[in-house]
C-alpha cells in the first residue's frame, strides 16, 4: 500500500510537472500582456500580488475596455489579418478535405491503373508529398506566382496550403473509408444508384466524424503556417503569423504589445484544443495505429 502511494505521487508529480511546462508559457504571456514596463523588467509573476494589472497590451491593440468602441488602426489591421488567416486556412482545409476524401475513397474502393501505376503506387505518390519540404517548392512557386499574378492573393495561398495538407487528409481518410463495410454501397448500387450518389448518400454521413478530424488537423496546420505565407504574401493576403513575426523585430521592446498579439494569435486554437480535443486526438490516432 505504501509502495502504491509513492508510485501514485510520482505519477501525478510527473504529470503535473509536465502540465506546468505546457501551460506556463501561456500563463506568462497572458500576465505579461497586462504588465507595465516596470513590472516587465522586474520579471514579476503573479497579478494582484506582485503587480497591479493594467490593460496595457490590449489598449495598444484596441481591445481593452476603454478603447474597444473607439477608432483603432491596430485593431483594424489585426482583424484584417485575422480574417485573412481564417479565410485562407478554412478554405484550404475544406478544399483539401474534398479532394483528399474523394481520392481516398477511390483508392479504398476501386483498382486503378495508370500506366505502370496501380493503387499502392498512387497512394505512395500522394503520401510522398508529405516529405516534400516547403522550401523546395517555395522559390519555384514564388517565381511562378509572380508570372501568374497570384502573389499576395488569397487564392494563391489557398492553393499552396491545400497542397501541404492534402496528403494528411488522404492518409486519415483512407482508413476511415476502409472501415466502412462495402456491402452498404453494394446494396445501393444494385438498386441502381451511381457510385457518386452512393458515396454522398451512404458513405459520406458515416465518415463525417473522420472528416471533421481531418478538417481540424488541416485547419491547425494552415492557421499556424508561417514560412510560405512570409514568402508569398505582402499586404493584401498577409496572415496573422506573418504580422506577428514582423512585429517581433520591430516591437520587441514593447513586451505587453507582443504578449497581447501572440496570445490573440494562439487563442482560437487553444479554444479548439479545449472543445474539439476528441477530434484532434482521433485524427492523429488514426495515423498512428496504421503502422
Amino acid at each position: 500500500m505504501n509502495n502504491n502511494l509513492g508510485e501514485k505521487i510520482l505519477i501525478y508529480g510527473i504529470l503535473l510537472f509536465w502540465t506546468f511546462i505546457c501551460l506556463f508559457p501561456i500563463y506568462w504571456t497572458a500576465t505579461t500582456s497586462f504588465k507595465t514596463a516596470a513590472s516587465v523588467t522586474q520579471g514579476l509573476l503573479i497579478p494582484w500580488v506582485d503587480f497591479e494589472p493594467a490593460w496595457k497590451g490590449w489598449k495598444n491593440l484596441g481591445l481593452s475596455p476603454d478603447t474597444i468602441f473607439t477608432e483603432s488602426n491596430p485593431r483594424e489591421e489585426f482583424f484584417a489579418r485575422f480574417f485573412n488567416t481564417a479565410l485562407i486556412s478554412s478554405s484550404a482545409s475544406a478544399l483539401a478535405v474534398i479532394l483528399g476524401s474523394f481520392a481516398a475513397y477511390g483508392l479504398s474502393r476501386f483498382n486503378y491503373k495508370f500506366g505502370f501505376m496501380r493503387n499502392p503506387d498512387i497512394s505512395f505518390f500522394f503520401l510522398s508529398q508529405l516529405i516534400l519540404p516547403p522550401v523546395v517548392l517555395a522559390l519555384p512557386v514564388l517565381v511562378l506566382y509572380r508570372e501568374l499574378d497570384l502573389l499576395d492573393t488569397h487564392i494563391g495561398m489557398i492553393l499552396i496550403y491545400t497542397l501541404t495538407v492534402l496528403p494528411i487528409v488522404i492518409w486519415i481518410m483512407r482508413d476511415q473509408f476502409n472501415a466502412v463495410p462495402i456491402e452498404l454501397e453494394e446494396a445501393a448500387l444494385v438498386d441502381g444508384a451511381s457510385v457518386w450518389i452512393s458515396f454522398f448518400k451512404i458513405v459520406f454521413p458515416i465518415v463525417l466524424p473522420g472528416l471533421a478530424s481531418a478538417f481540424i488537423l488541416c485547419l491547425i496546420l494552415c492557421w499556424n503556417e508561417y514560412f510560405l505565407a512570409a514568402l508569398i504574401t505582402s499586404t493584401d493576403a498577409k496572415t496573422m503569423p506573418v504580422m506577428v513575426a514582423s512585429q517581433i523585430s520591430s516591437q520587441s521592446i514593447k513586451w505587453w504589445n507582443m504578449a497581447a498579439i501572440s496570445l490573440a494569435l494562439c487563442f482560437p486554437l487553444i479554444l479548439v484544443a479545449i472543445f474539439l480535443e476528441r477530434y484532434i486526438v482521433k485524427g492523429m490516432a488514426a495515423g498512428a495505429i496504421k503502422g
Binding site: L163, V195, P241, A273
Partner: protein, 372 residues
C-alpha cells in the same frame, strides 16, 4: 475480404450496363482537344507577347491558368463521356492527381531548370544559364554543409523527444484521475503557432535579463544565463523549443497505440507475476514497435521541415550554429535574392531527404518483419 481472391476486380464491384455510343465518345474527345487547343493558343499568344514579337496580349499569364483549369475539367468530363461508369470512378482520384501534378510537378520541373541558372530576382538581366556553377559553389559553401550537419543533430534529438513522449503516454494510460484534463493540457503546445512560440518562449521567457527561465537559471546558480550566445547552448535551446511544440503529437500517437494494446495479454502477464519493468520490456514495447516507428517517422518528417522558430528567434546564429537547411536557404534568398542558387540547395536537400527516408523506411520495414 481476403485480398488474394480479388486482385483485378474492384473491392466495390457491380456489373453496370455501360454502353457508350460512338457519338458520345467522339464528343468527349472533341471537348478535350478543343480545350487543349484553346490553351495552346493562349499560351502561344502570351509567349509571343512577352517576347515582344506581337503587340497584343494579356497583362499576365493568368488566362493561361484559366484555360489550363478548363482543360483539366474537360478531361475529367470527357472521362465520363468516353468510359461511362468506369470514368465516373476515375473521377474520384482525378482531381487530386491533377492538383498535385499542377502544383508540385510543374514547379518542380521549373525549379530544376532554374537551379542551373544564375538568377537574381532584383537584377534586370534576368536569368542566365550557368550550368554546374551553382553546384560547384555549393560544394565549397561551408554554411550549407554546416546546416546539413545541424539537421543531423536536430533529427537525433527526436530520440530524446520520443523517450519523453513514451514515458508521458505510459503515465497517461495508467489508472489516473483527470485524464481528460491532462490530455488537453499536454495537447496545447501543439496548437500554438511557431511564430507565437518564438516570441513567448524564445524572446520573452528566455530573455537573459528578466525572463523567468533566466531568473530560474540564476536562482539555480547559473551566473550568466544566456541561451543564444554559445553555439552548443543555442542549438540545445532550439531543440528544446521544437521538442516542446511537437512532443504532444508523439504523446497522442503513442497513447493511441497503448490504448489499442490487447488487454488479455497484459492481464495474463500480470497474473504470471511480471513486474512493471519486465512487462514493459517484454510485452508493451515489442507490441508497440510498429506504432513507435510510425510515430518516429512522422516526427522526423516534421523535423526535416524545421524552420520557423529558427528564422524568427536566432536567424541561424550564432555563426550558423542553429541553422536548419530551410532557414539557411531563406537567408540566402533574402540576403542575395539569388533564386537559382537557393533552388539548387533546396533540390540537393530534397534528394538527400529522399535517400534518407527511403533507407529509413526500408530499415523500419525490415525491423518490423523480423519482430513479427
Amino acid at each position: 475480404m481476403s485480398e488474394t481472391k480479388i486482385i483485378e476486380r474492384d473491392p466495390l464491384y457491380v456489373v453496370s450496363p455501360s454502353t457508350v455510343s460512338e457519338n458520345t465518345k467522339r464528343a468527349g474527345k472533341l471537348i478535350v482537344w478543343s480545350a487543349f487547343l484553346l490553351m495552346v493558343i493562349i499560351g502561344t499568344v502570351q509567349s509571343l507577347y512577352s517576347l515582344e514579337k506581337i503587340n497584343f496580349g494579356f497583362s499576365n499569364w493568368r488566362p493561361l491558368l484559366y484555360s489550363y483549369i478548363l482543360w483539366a475539367i474537360a478531361i475529367g468530363y470527357s472521362r465520363v463521356l468516353i468510359y461511362g461508369e468506369r470514368g465516373k470512378r476515375n473521377l474520384f482520384i482525378f482531381p487530386a492527381v491533377m492538383f498535385i501534378i499542377s502544383i508540385v510537378i510543374f514547379p518542380m520541373l521549373f525549379g530544376l531548370y532554374i537551379s542551373f541558372t544564375d538568377w537574381n530576382l532584383s537584377s534586370v538581366d534576368g536569368r542566365k544559364f550557368n550550368g554546374v556553377d551553382n553546384f560547384v559553389q555549393m560544394m565549397t559553401d561551408p554554411y550549407y554543409w554546416n546546416a546539413l550537419k545541424n539537421m543531423i543533430y536536430y533529427v537525433l534529438a527526436v530520440l530524446v523527444e520520443f523517450a519523453i513522449a513514451f514515458l508521458l503516454a505510459l503515465l497517461l494510460n495508467s489508472q489516473i484521475k483527470g485524464r481528460k484534463f491532462f490530455r488537453i493540457a499536454f495537447l496545447i503546445p501543439l496548437m500554438l503557432s511557431p511564430v507565437a512560440v518564438s516570441w513567448m518562449v524564445g524572446k520573452s521567457m528566455l530573455e537573459q535579463r528578466f525572463g523567468p527561465v533566466a531568473n530560474l537559471g540564476r536562482w539555480l546558480g547559473w551566473e550568466t544565463p544566456t541561451f543564444f550566445s554559445s553555439p552548443e547552448i543555442a542549438r540545445l535551446t532550439m531543440m528544446c523549443m521544437d521538442a516542446w511544440t511537437f512532443i504532444p503529437l508523439m504523446i497522442i500517437m503513442l497513447l493511441a497505440g497503448l490504448q489499442a494494446l490487447p488487454k488479455e495479454v497484459l492481464e495474463a502477464a500480470k497474473v504470471d507475476g511480471a513486474n512493471k519493468w519486465t512487462m514493459f520490456k517484454n510485452i508493451i514495447f515489442p507490441i508497440m514497435l510498429p506504432v513507435s516507428l510510425t510515430t518516429l517517422v512522422i516526427r522526423i518528417i516534421f523535423k526535416l521541415k524545421l524552420a520557423d522558430i529558427i528564422i524568427i528567434v536566432t536567424a541561424g546564429g550564432p555563426g550558423g550554429a542553429t541553422d536548419s537547411v530551410t532557414s539557411f536557404i531563406v537567408r540566402e534568398y533574402r540576403d542575395r535574392s539569388n533564386v537559382g542558387y537557393g533552388t539548387l540547395l533546396s533540390f540537393v536537400y530534397l534528394i538527400l531527404i529522399i535517400i534518407f527516408m527511403t533507407i529509413l523506411i526500408r530499415f523500419v520495414n525490415r525491423w518490423l518483419q523480423r519482430a513479427a
